[in-house]
Symmetry: C3
C-alpha cells in the first residue's frame, strides 16, 4: 500500500477527479495554494495497492501533464496598459508534482 | 513516531475532535472533499508516538465507524417527485479511511 | 527525497512562504485548523532533497519559532467586562510542528 500525494493545478483538477472515479480509484482532495504558482492548486491524496501505483501515475500524467497553450491577448495581463501584449502568447499550463509515500498500515472503519 | 492520516465524514468530525482533545492527542484538520463520497469530509493528521497508535485508532473507530442510520422520507431525495421514497430508508453513514505513515524525524520549534 | 509536513500558525505563514520563495524552495500550503490551538494554522508540504532538509528546517525555525509577545490590554479578551485585563500580558505565539517523511518515489509531469 502506498499513499500518493499529487499537487495539480485547479485547471486539471476536475478532469483528474473524473478519471479517477471512472477507474474506481478513491481519492481525497485538499484545497491548497502553491508557493510559486499564482494559480490555485488541489492536492490529491490517494491510498492505493502497490501494483496500481503505475496505472494511477499514468492517469495523473495524462490528465495533468505540463503543456503549452495559446492565451488570448485580452486575458494575458492584469489590465495595466503598459504590460498589455497585443498578440496571443503561449503559456505553460498544467503539470503535477507527485510524491509516493510508504504506508505502514491501513485501516478502514 | 507515526503520522496518522484519517479521512472522516464531516458528520463525525466534531465528535472525533472532541474525543482527541479529551485524550490529549494533538490533531490538525484539513478541509477536504472525497472523490466518491458526496458528503464533505475532513482529513485529520495526527503525529503520535508508536505506543499510542492503537489507542488513537480505537478513538477513530469508536467515533467514526461506518453504520446504518434511518433517514426520514423528506430528506432522502433531491426533491424530484419520481425519486421520492415515501418511507424511512436505512443509509450508511460515517466510516473512516486511515493511513499510518512512518515518520523519519520530528521537530517542534 | 523527503516530504516535510509543517504545521505553522497563520501569523507566521506569510513570512515563511516568502522565505521559502527567496530560497527557491517549492511549498504547497493547505488550509488547516488545530485541535488545540484556537488560532488558525497552515500546513506546508515541501518535497525536498535529503541534503536540503536541514536548511529548510532552519528557515522554519527562524520564521515560526514559539516566542513570548506582549499583548495590549484592549485586544487581550473577547469584550466581556469580567474578563478584561487592564495591563499588557505576555502570550506565547508562533511555533511549528514538523514531520519529516520518507519519500519512496517522486514524479513531475
Ligand atoms: Ni505496500
Ligand atoms: Ni517511530
Ligand atoms: Ni531520499
Amino acid at each position: 500500500m502506498k499513499l500518493i500525494v499529487a499537487v495539480v493545478q485547479d485547471k486539471d483538477s476536475n478532469r483528474l477527479s473524473q478519471a479517477l472515479v471512472r477507474e474506481n480509484v478513491r481519492a481525497t482532495k485538499l484545497a491548497s495554494t502553491g508557493g510559486f504558482l499564482k494559480a490555485g492548486n488541489t492536492t490529491f491524496i490517494i491510498g492505493i495497492e502497490d501494483e496500481r501505483v503505475d496505472p494511477v501515475l499514468n492517469l495523473i500524467r495524462e490528465n495533468c501533464k505540463s503543456r503549452q497553450q495559446m492565451m488570448a491577448p485580452m486575458s494575458s495581463m492584469g489590465g495595466n496598459a503598459d504590460s498589455y501584449i497585443p498578440y496571443p502568447v503561449e503559456v505553460q499550463v498544467g503539470g503535477a508534482t507527485v510524491f509516493i509515500l510508504p504506508v505502514e498500515r491501513f485501516e478502514q472503519f
